[in-house]
Amino acid sequence: MSDRPRSVDRLLPLKPKVLQILLALADGPRHGYSIMQEVATRTDGQVRLWPAALYGTLRALEDLDWIAKSEKRPSDDDERRRYFALTPLGKRVLDAEVRRLEAIVDHARASRALRKPVRT
């Protein structure tokens, strides 16, 4: 796209659900149901996506050209399922958002806003 914005920074911050969807697609194409499950697992059930809203968001993200329907699909899958994958722009947006969040966390640590380092 020629009129792509020079910097993706002005698209940030992302809505939490959008961030979760982009993250779920970061390690490869997924279909809708798989996105829902991945997000639910990753957030320990904190963020739950429901189909009607999810597909609405997916359509909006497609319109933004952050994601696209993917032709790559696992061999064992139902052919009717629609897979979505990040576009290069989507990857850049996700990258920029994660960096932004990282900067916030770093700043918080440096200013000792956190009582103790979080370890997992």
Partner: protein
């Protein structure tokens, strides 16, 4: 899969289809994912399944409607014309309906402001053979009922008395209510401040008017209104007020909506009827044949009104056996208190409510017509969108979302207008509508406004626009296609016919009420109501007694007679048309009557000063008026009216004969010295009743109505006459100064209310119907432009084209009149009870209505016809 979960999935599918119908592929994906989620949830149990299903449905609703509403809102902001016009029109109609609903709600529907109000009944004594069907119970009977009845939790009686309240800024007349034991237990209403009476406090207290105290400190409970006018000081509770020449201890204040018997009640005070009726005058204690009390009982919980009536009937039979002279043939009636209160206003209010609902229907029809035109204008847009692949369901959804916005706007407009209109309506409404002080905009009224707004929007916007989605694509896209389909025109024509029909009903109603009102105004009350000034004097009972009362009134009347412009003046206990004054309904019989005839006939007993009949203009049929020689020690004389003379002496002249009247000191023989004409005492609708007049000097009653015949406008004399009366004794309150014409007018308040409102609505309806006809014809002319042009091109004259349009309007008017006639026939049964001296199918009214309506419809078709006649065939066909 179990059936319930299959049903759950199917429901989800329907909602999905309804709300997200854009893309079938996406729809399928959503549905599959939802099913997967539900499958996963089912494993975790029934509750998890239900929770997931609910979450899925919610997700759909939020996403689906949110989108369409947002779109509708955007299009509203972009082109607000239609939605705003519709909302304003409908809002106005809904507001008018809601205003009347608020009245109906407060007066008829709302429960009375007492605990368990359904247990409350009004108690009447009734005697079928004497045709006295609703008499206030007698004190003696009430005492027996209280002592012996097992039908009531509590039973109380009261009687109002006018009293003089002396404050810092002079005296004012107030209405005191003297109540018997159990009054506050019957109504079960906690005081706003302080307390009500204990059981002991009811005992041994005489009436207000007696001027005695029964050896105790007088106590009272104030109304909220009087308490506020006294400064609303909480410290007043426990303090004293100065009433009827002595101090009374204030025990408490009742809440603002406690209005027993009506909003004029200023205070309540205990009353022991045993104390009030004793001594030589009442050797047997409280009388059984003075039937005047107002009695309300709280029926025992679980006992039906019928069962309570049965128990009371047994008691009544026992009393009739024990006291045959006073109680034979008397039975007891229990009427639910609420019914009792709204009896008089119910029909009028419902009538006006019906009229205003008719108006709302008219507005809906007009808006529907607008919506059809708009739908027709947008048919092309719809066709283009459909042709480009928009789902029909999507168009339906957008339409619904737009309508929902209209409904919300309508409700808002209506609620705002209602609060404003309600103030005006209360100011206009007759003051004798009960419970008017309880009218407010509450949750019920708001809900009504919202429901009415929704219904109006459905009728006015949703239904007419419903066809937008079924537009046939190809014809609509054709160049030069008619702007509106044949179907839409037919529906609009039907709507205009319906509008005319409703208007006919409203017009006929207004015409009938107006003519009936005119007849009521022409009814001869029996006397000359013009140039009469009326004032009421309630002297202090502690100040004037016996002959002093006659002397006081003599001086007052003389001082008024001295005024220029006064022809004569007199006083009487109860004036015709006046609601104030004590009326006594007493048995009388002729000399030589058998004992079983003693109580058979009753008459209203009134005390009058000499010159009363001449002053009032009540004709003397035979004999003489009272004069100064009918003094306290002179022979006892009476004057009777024609009704009594007719029924007692059957056409013979009663002058010089005697009659036995059972009044005050027991039956006594009185000589008839005159007969006067009949008067309609309770307004033009009432029939004359038998009356007996006693010279005031022979029974010096304290509270009197003074009536003054003037030679000039009586209202101009009001102030000077009052001052003149006050000059005799400035401590005696002179109040309710008014004219007889106004009193006469007040008896017609409810008739006027109904007439004015229905006439107003009829006028509005006529206007709406006229605009409806105009809009339809104007549209038809625009639509048929080419056809008319062709007609003209091949030789039709301008007048024949105009005639074409006018004939169409005439057809509409005639069909509408027929529809209206059916409506009139349907409501005539209700109308009959309200009308006076005129039948619901009065041919003159019907004829005039039809004439007015056809005239207006023809006028409305004038402009469109002109426009049609002016069409230039050349330019019209060039398109």
């Amino acid at each position: 899969m179990t059936p319930p979960s299959r049903r759950a999935i199917r429901a989800y599918g329907w909602l999905l289809w309804l709300l997200r119908g854009r893309d079938p592929q996406e729809q399928r994906a959503i549905k599959e994912d939802a099913e997967l989620l539900l499958d996963a949830a089912r494993v975790r149990g029934r509750r998890a399944f239900a929770a997931t299903w609910l979450a899925l449905m919610w997700d759909l609703v939020i996403v689906g409607t949110g989108h369409d509403l947002a779109r509708a809102l955007r299009s509203l902001v972009r082109a607000p014309g239609f939605a705003l016009t519709v909302s304003l029109l409908l809002g106005l109609g809904v507001a008018a309906t809601t205003t009347l609903f608020a009245l109906v709600n407060a007066v008829i529907l709302k429960p009375l402001p007492y605990a368990n109000p359904e247990q409350l009944v009004m108690v009447w004594e009734s005697n079928a053979p004497l045709k006295r069907l609703r008499e206030g119970p007698a004190p003696g009977n009430l005492n027996d009922w209280v002592a012996n009845s097992d039908a009531f939790e509590a039973l109380t009686g009261w009687w109002t008395a006018s009293a003089t309240l002396r404050g810092r800024d002079g005296s004012a007349p107030v209405t005191g209510v003297q109540v018997t034991t159990g009054f506050f237990e019957v109504f079960r209403r906690a005081p706003f401040l302080g307390r009500t009476f204990t059981a002991d406090e009811y005992l041994g207290r005489p009436s207000i008017a007696s001027g005695r105290t029964g050896g105790q400190e007088p106590v009272l409970v104030l109304s909220h209104r009087l308490w506020q006018s006294l400064g609303a000081n909480p410290a007043l509770v426990g303090g004293t007020v100065y009433v009827e020449g002595r101090k009374w201890r204030v025990l408490g204040v009742m809440p603002a909506d406690f209005a027993v018997p009506d909003i004029d009640a200023a205070f309540w005070t205990p009353w022991d009827m045993r104390e009030a009726y004793r001594g030589v005058r009442f050797p047997d204690g409280p009388p059984r044949d003075f039937r005047f009390l107002r009695v309300v009982g709280r029926v025992k919980r679980g006992l039906s009104r019928e069962a309570a009536t049965d128990r009371m009937q047994v008691l009544a039979a026992r009393l009739a056996a024990d006291h045959p002279r006073t109680n034979a043939d008397w039975s007891i009636q229990l009427v639910p208190l609420r019914e009792e209160l709204v009896r008089s206003s119910r029909t009028d209010l419902l009538l006006v409510f019906g009229a205003v609902s008719g108006l709302l229907l008219l507005v809906c029809a007009n808006v529907a017509s607008l919506a059809i035109v708009r739908g027709a204008a947008r048919a092309r847009e719809m066709a283009i969108r459909l042709a480009l692949g928009a789902g029909r369901m999507r168009i339906v959804r957008e339409h619904l979302a737009e309508s929902a916005l209209c409904a919300v706007l309508t409700a808002l407009v209506a609620i705002v207008l209602t609060t404003w209109l309600l103030g005006a309506a209360i100011a206009f409404a007759p003051s004798d509508i009960p419970r008017l002080h309880e009218v407010d905009v509450n949750i019920r009224v708001v809900s009504f406004a919202m429901a009415a707004a929704l219904l109006a929007t459905i009728i006015g916007v949703v239904l007419p626009g419903r066809r937008g989605s079924s537009t046939a694509i190809v014809p609509a896209l054709k160049d030069g296609a008619p702007v509106s389909g044949e179907h839409a025109s037919r529906v609009r024509r039907a709507l205009v016919v319906a509008e005319i029909g409703v208007t006919v009903v409203l017009l006929v109603g207004a015409g009938l009420l107006t003519r009936s009102f005119a007849r009521l105004q022409r009814v001869d009350p029996g006397f000359d109501a013009q140039n009469l000034l009326v004032l009421r004097i309630a002297p202090d009972v502690t100040r004037y007694r016996g002959a002093q009362v006659s002397d006081y009134y003599g001086r007052v009347l003389n001082s008024i007679r001295e005024l220029p412009g006064v022809a004569s003046a007199a006083a009487v206990t109860v004036l015709p048309m006046s609601t104030i004054g004590s009326d006594f309904y007493r048995p009388y019989w002729l000399e030589g009557a058998r004992p079983d005839e003693f109580a058979a006939t009753q008459a209203n007993v009134r005390m009058a000063t000499p010159g009363y009949f001449a002053t009032l203009g009540l004709p003397l049929v035979s004999g003489r008026e009272f004069s100064a020689r009918d003094a306290l020690m002179a022979p006892r004389v009476i004057i009777v009216n024609e009704s009594l003379a007719r029924s007692a002496w059957k056409g013979q002249d009663p002058v010089g004969r005697t009659l036995i009247l059972d009044y005050q000191n027991g039956p006594s023989s009185l000589q008839v010295v005159g007969v006067v004409g009949d008067a309609r005492y309770k307004g033009p609708r009432s029939d004359p009743a038998p009356e007996i007049f006693i010279p005031h000097a022979q029974n010096p009653y304290l509270v009197m109505n003074v009536v003054v015949r003037t030679t000039i406008d009586p209202a101009a004399l009001a102030q000077t006459a009052r001052v003149q009366a006050l000059n005799v004794d400035r401590d005696q309150p002179v109040h309710s100064v008014t004219t007889m014409e106004r009193l006469l007018d007040d008896t017609l308040q409810q008739d006027r209310f109904a007439m004015l409102f229905v006439a107003l609505f009829a006028a509005a309806g006529l206007l709406i119907a006229a605009t409806g006809v105009y809009a339809l014809l104007a549209f038809t002319v625009a639509q048929r432009r080419r056809e008319i042009a062709v007609r003209m091109a091949i030789g039709a004259s301008t007048s024949s084209v105009a005639r074409l349009i006018v004939m169409e309007s005439l057809t509409l008017a005639l069909v509408g009149c027929l529809v209206g006639a059916l409506g009139v026939a349907a409501v005539s049964r209700v109308a009959r009870s309200v009308l006076f001296g005129i039948a619901p199918h009065d041919p003159l009214t019907l004829g005039m209505t039809a004439a007015v309506l056809i005239g207006v419809v023809l006028a409305a078709s004038w402009l469109p016809a002109q426009r049609a006649a002016r069409i230039d065939p050349v330019s019209a066909m060039r398109i």
